[in-house]
C-alpha cells in the first residue's frame, strides 16, 4: 500500500510538469510548422513595419497576401528537381 502511495504521489505531483512539457513541445512543433509553411509571414511583416516605419500604412492580411502572390507572379522562383 505504502509503495503504491509513494509511487502515486510523485506521479500526481509531476503531472502538471509533464503536462507543461507536452504543451511546450506542442507549441514548439506548432511554431516550427507554421513558420516553415509561412503562416507567420504577415505577422513578421507587420512587426517589421511597426518597428522600422511606424508612420507607414500597414496593409490588411488579405491585401498583404495578394501583393505577395503578385510579386511571385512577376518574379518566379525555381523549384529543384
Amino acid at each position: 500500500m505504502t509503495v503504491i502511495a509513494r509511487t502515486q504521489i510523485p506521479a500526481v505531483r509531476s503531472a502538471p510538469a509533464a503536462w507543461r512539457w507536452v504543451r511546450s513541445a506542442a507549441s514548439g512543433i506548432r511554431w516550427y510548422v507554421t513558420a516553415l509553411m509561412g503562416d507567420s509571414a504577415y505577422d513578421t511583416y507587420v512587426a517589421h513595419q511597426r518597428a522600422h516605419h511606424p508612420d507607414a500604412e500597414v496593409p490588411t492580411e488579405r491585401q498583404f497576401w495578394r501583393d505577395r502572390m503578385a510579386d511571385q507572379d512577376r518574379n518566379p522562383g525555381a523549384r529543384c528537381c
Binding site: 513558420a35 497576401w65 511571385q72 522562383g77
Partner: protein
Amino acid sequence: MTAAMPRGRGKNGVLEQDPKLPPVAVSEKDHERENRWTLPKILLWAAIALLGAVAWTMLAIVRGETVNAIWFVFAAVCTYLIGYRFYAKVIEKYILRPDDRRATPAEILEDGKDFVPTDRRVLYGHHFAAIAGAGPLVGPVLAAQMGFLPGTIWIIVGVVLAGAVQDYTVLFFSMRRSGRSIGQMARDTLGRIGGTAAIIASLLIMVIIIAILALVVVNALGESPWGVFSVGMTLPIAIFMGLYLRFIRPGKITEVSLIGFVLLMAAIIGGGAVAGTEWGQAVFSLDRTTLAWALIIYGFIAAVLPVWLLLAPRDYLSTFMKVGVIVMLAGAIVLVRPEISVPAFTDFASNGAGPVFSGSLFPFLFVTIACGALSGFHALISSGTTPKLIEKERQTKFIGYGGMLMESFVAIMALVAAISIDQGIYFAMNAPAALTGGTVEHAAAFVNSLGLTGVHVTPEMLTNTAAGVGEPSIISRTGGAPTLALGLAHIMHQLIGGPSIMGFWYHFAIMFEALFILTAVDAGTRVARFMLQDSIGAFFPRFRDVSWRPGVWVCTAIMVAAWGYILILGVTDPLGGINTFFPLFGIANQLLAGIALAVVFAIVAKRGRSYVRWLWIIAVPLAFTAVITITASLYKIFSPVPGIGYWANNAKYRAAQAAGDGSLGTPEVVEAVIRNTAVQGTLSIIFVVLTAIVMVVAVIVGIKAIRDGVSDDGEDAPVPSRRFAPAGLIATRAERGLEAQWAEHDAAQPVGRGASRH
C-alpha cells in the same frame, strides 16, 4: 561584456561593434575553448567513426547472401556527421571564413518580405524543401542496375566532397553579394563570354530537366487509371486550396495544407475504387502519348495562370508531403530493416550493357545519379531565396552543407527502397518495352536471359505484383518512380496495414512524386520564360515588361514547346525513352554544377594569397565534374557502340534506311530513331561546348587573379551586425550565454525586436 567582444579586424574599424549592444559574435577565445578536444568528445567521435567503419565493412567487404538495410543508414549518417564536423569545418575555416560581426543581407536590407532574418532551423526546412524534389528519388533507382555499392559510395562520398561543397560555397558567396544569382555571379566573375555561356546553359538545362521529369510522370501514369485519377485530383484540390487562401482565410497555410492532405488521401483511396469500376477504367486509362499532350497543355495553362490559384497552394502541399514522407520512410527503414539480396556489383557496372541505361560505371554512374550526390541545379536555389533569409553568416554551413547532406540521405533511402524489391521484378520494371516486349511472358524470359545470379522471375510473379498494387501491369514502367513506389509499398506494408494496403502505399508514393514533378514543371516553365523574356527584352524592350500578357504568352509557348518536343520524343522513342534521354538530364545537371564550381573557383582565387593553398577543395570536385561531364558527352557523341553513342546509332539506322533493311523495325521506327538520336547528339555537342567554354574561362580568370595577387573577390562592403543567433542546429554553451545577454537586452528595450524566436 566588452572584454568578451571580438576586436574589429577592419583597418578603418568598419567592423567595430556598437558598444551599447551585447556581442554579436562568439569571441575567438570562447570559440577556441569550445573547439578544444576533451575526452568525452574524443570518445564520441571515435564511436561514430567506428560505427561508420563497421557499416562500410558490412556493405563493401562482407559478402553474405543478403545485407541488412540498416547498414546503409549507419554508413550514411556516420559519414555525414564526420564530413560535417571535419570537412565542412575546413571549408569554413580556410575557404569561406564567415564573420558573424558582419551583417547579412537579411539584416542590412530587411524589409519584412524578401529580406527577413529567419530562424536557422526554419530556414533549413525551407532550403531543403526548395532543393529536394523528385531527382534524388529517380537517379539512385536507375543506378541500382549496377548493384548497390557503386551508387551508395557515390551518393555518400560525392555529397561530402562535391555536392555539399558546391551548395555551401554558392550560398555563402551569394550571401556576400546581397543574394545575387549564380548567373549574375558568373557574369561578374567570368566576364561576358563565360557569363553568357552560363546563362544559355541554365536555360537549356531547365528545358531538359522539365522534359525528363515530365517523362517520369507520364511513364508512371500511362495505362494506370488509379494513378491518373488520384494525380488528376491534385488539380481541383490545389485550386480549392488557392481559393480558400485567397477569399476565405488568407494566410492560414498550415490549416489549408492539412485540409488538402486529407483530401489527397481521400483521392488516393477513391482512386482505388474508381479504378475498380468499368467506367473508371474507360475514362482514366490513358496511353502515354495522350498523357504527354495533356501535360503539355497543362504546363502552358499552369504557367500563365496566377500563382495563387495553382502553383502556390500545390507547393504548400508538396512541402508538407515532402517532409512528412521522408521522416516516415526513414522511420520505416529503421523499424523494418529489410534484407537486401541485390549484389554489391552486377556485370553491368563493367560491361556497360545494362538494360536500364547503357554505359559502364565510369562515367555513366556519375551522370545517372546527379541529385543526391552533386546537383548543379541547387546552385540556382542556393543563390536565390535562401541567401536573402540568412540571419548570421556562420549559419551557412548548417543550411548549405547540412541541407545537402539531408538530400543525400533521401537519395540513400530511395536506393534502399528500390533494392529491397526482388531484382528480377526490378529489371522487368526498368527495362524498356523494346526489350521486354511489354508482356509478362516476354518480360520474364528477357529478365531470366540476362544471366544475373539468383534472379529468376516467373510470369505469375509479375502478374501478382501488379495486381498487388492495383495496376494492370508493371512491365517496363521505366523512369524510377514506379520502382520506388513499389519499394516504398513493400517496406511500408510491413509496418502498417499488411499486403491488402500495398496498392494504397504504391499510389501514395506515385502521388507525392507527381506532386514534386508537377510543381517543378510549372515553376521551371515560369523561370525559363522569365529568362527568355529577359533575353528577348535586350532587343525588344517590351518583352521585359512581365505584366504585358502577349509577351508572357509568347515566351511561355516557346518554352513549353521546347520541353514538350523533347517529352514527345521521349514518350514515342522506339528504343525506350528514359534509357536514352536520362543521361542528358544527368549531364545537364552536372554541367550546371561544373559552371557553379567554376564560378566559385574563380571567386576563391580572387580572394587573396592565403586562400590559394586551399583552392584544391574547389578544384577537386570541379575537375571531377569536368572529367565526368566531358567524358560522358564524348562517349555520347563519339562512341562507335550504337547502344552508347547517339551518332553511332543514328548512322546505324540511317544505313538501314538507305539499304531498305527492315530488320530494325518499320520505316516509321527507323525514322523516329534517326530523328531522336540527332536531337540527343546535338544537345550533347552543345552541352560539352558550353562546359568547355565556362571551365576554360574560369581557369584563366583564376590563374590571372593568382598571378596578379588580386585580393578582392567583388563582394559587398562589410556592415557591422546588430544581432546574434547561434550557428548550428544546437546552440553551444557560449552561444547560449550570448542569447541570454541578448534576451536581457531586448527585454530592456521599449520596442521588441520582431517576433523571431531564438
